[in-house]
Amino acid sequence: MPERFELDVNGKVCAVEAEPDTPLLYILRNDLDLKGARYGCGTGQCGACTVLMDGKDIQSCDTPLWAVAGKSITTVEGIGTRAQPHPLQQAFLDEQAAQCGYCITGILMASKALLDRNPEPSDRDIDQALERHLCRCGSHNRIRRAIHRAAQAMGGKR
């Protein structure tokens, strides 16, 4: 049976009604109209649906709604806008770090979690943090460069 849940998404409390086992991905995309998290596999293998839960990157496609009650969720829409881009978003634009871009929002969220815990990551740290993120277009080099660039831009701000 559908149940009512209160979620904290991007700092706002929102009420939704759905089956408790509904993957968070569909709640974000269809109930809250936040399209930044994207469906790729539904089984936690590609990273396209990645968002932050209490600051940690999780795959929203295999996170049920009941598991996020009381946690705070951040999606790509919550980290920056065209007017006020997050340094990572600015760096991805500056490096033109995307081709089709479908994987990018998930990668941005994992990168944010990485920089939040490790402000000066090495290439190896980046590769590890993005271990579960697939990019079929082959934007890997630019993505690494963009993360380094953002790390530099954010230096001292934390």
């Binding site: 509904t22 881009p85 978003q89 993120h133 890997h140």
Partner: protein, 708 residues
Amino acid sequence: MSTAADKPVLPGSLNANRSLARWIRINDDGTVAVRVGKVEIGQGILTALAQIAADELDVELHQVRIVTANTESNPNEGMTSGSRSVEESGEALRYVCAEVRALFMQAAARALAASIEKLQVSEGVFHVDGKRTSYWDLAAEVDLVREASAQVPPKQAADLTIVGRYAQRIDLPAKIFGEPAYIQDMALPGLAHGRIVRPPNYAAKLLSLDDAGVRALPGVIAVVRDGDFLGVVAEREEQAIKAAAVLAQACRWDAPRQLPHEAQIYDYLTSRPVETAVISDKKDEKAKARTHTTLEATYRKPYIAHASIGPSCAIARYDGERYELWSHSQGIYPLRGDMVKCLRVPADRIVVHHADGSGCYGHNGADDVALDAALLARAVSPRPVRVQWMRADESGWEPFGPAMVMKLKASTDAQGNIVDWTHETWSNPHSNRSGRGPGSTLIAAPHMADPVPVSPPIDSPLPAGASHRNAIPLYEFPNQKVARHLIMDTPLRISALRALGGFANVFAIESMLDELAIACGADPVEFRLRHLKDARARAVIERVAQMADWKSGEKGDGTRGRGIGFCKYKNLGSYCAVIAEVVLEQELRVVKAWAAVDIGRVVNPNGAINQIEGGVLQATSWTLKEAVRFDDNFVTSLGWDTYPILTFAEAPRVEVQLIDRPSETSKGAGEGAQGPTGAAIVNALHNAVGVRVRELPLTRERIMAAMA
């Protein structure tokens, strides 16, 4: 009245879309609408086309609005494929925009009572002696509903100010800020969600269905059955997914197991009936008589998936009379052609809009899912239905790049010159696209109760070729025979994958070249140059050798080594040479790749380099890891665990240099790196450890077996 046949041939896609108004409209908000038929598939084409238009019109890039392709207003430019968009759409736009600019110059000269020669144009404003007017002031006076003459010459290379410079991709901000940018994100009022239940294999027939339980599930609007086509529509996406899973359990299928076994696939293919064509035949008996060393080898490449990260998606709406479709197809007009047959309504009752999708790298499930969505939408008219395939739908049912076998035999003389060359390629055709043939190629077409026959796949002819793409070497050999054996029996569903047969043919040619160089004790770079006259080909090879600081005769150290690969894509497109550095650890790893590329006049250097980097990385993934898995029933690689692709930790550093040739025509950059990269890796493996692996992918087992 003259007929189309007597009309002069106009450049690129202009020939088939001859009205200026079809391409350009002056908007009243200070921008210019540019309508094209080519579509964005992550390759940055719309940015490159906007640059071309802006430059010719003398407006700024931000004043150009590209109108996404649709079958109502935009020109019909067929497919966005084969790295032809800059040549076809770009050439058309150069002439269209030059002519539009000239018409407005005349109008401006009249309005300002000045001579045309004195007029200056910038940012869309025409000025002379302090007086000014603009495209927008004059829009009402210049009628663009007229046939293009293509008589106004576009700018000379030296006068271009936007083409050839850095331009940020116009579509990327939306994608990076997580705005609704893809078809997957489109929301229409009343949108319902559909999912498909496919048969268990290609040949299966539905025996019975007990769908009462599915209909009773929460949110289910309809269970749709049309022959062997099955789907569900529900209010919510997760409800549709659950209902489809239950529906799959509610079917009984007759599903004969008909596929050849994976382990025998190459024998199976080469023993089928073939249509053989000799595509190159050169004879020089005197040279042949000098034969000293002869090598023979067979190379194999498996089925490879497009493996888009975002599974295919479409939205359809049927109001009882007209269908409206949104699709990430590479060819919205050809797709509409198949829709006419499958939906059995005339073309003027179907509108197809293009919407961006996840990168496709060729013909994936984009077209198929559009028919799925239309069939579901018809059942719940007038509600719009969004269908996104599940991962397993995409991985199992997308058309794959065909498996191929190449048998090569070559001889050198005592001085190490190749005197004889034979190349035979066995392959299925490489295109199953929509819009051709008597029937349809869409998955659901033959499943429907009133089926539409399946159109046979086609293999586009030379010079571009398909299965025989790049089978004729660019190197100069006195004796040469190249044959293509086309296998029409297609056990797995196949269609165009980036570079088509060019990937496998170049892998084979460039491997054999390396084998010969080694047999002759020659350096592989020097050996290639020895057999090449084409100056642009030589230039990319010399450049990449320089970039990588290649040492003549360099040898690997037992685990680490480097190799080279080269091709002129389609023998008429870009030139690309790649050097790869590999190291054999637990698995073979590519640590670095260098690419030198000549695509003629470069429109957007950063965009081109992005495409080439991507091509190198994707081809690295194909070469090291990828093969579609199947058993005698169906495809078994239905997810990323069974079809692994390159990860971040496995992605080599890539360095790309463009050799800009402003006075040569622009060529696409999207596909040229595939063949050279695969070949460079295979050759680097040999350089590293001294073994030759002739079957892809280069898995640990295969390398170990070769070393044993």
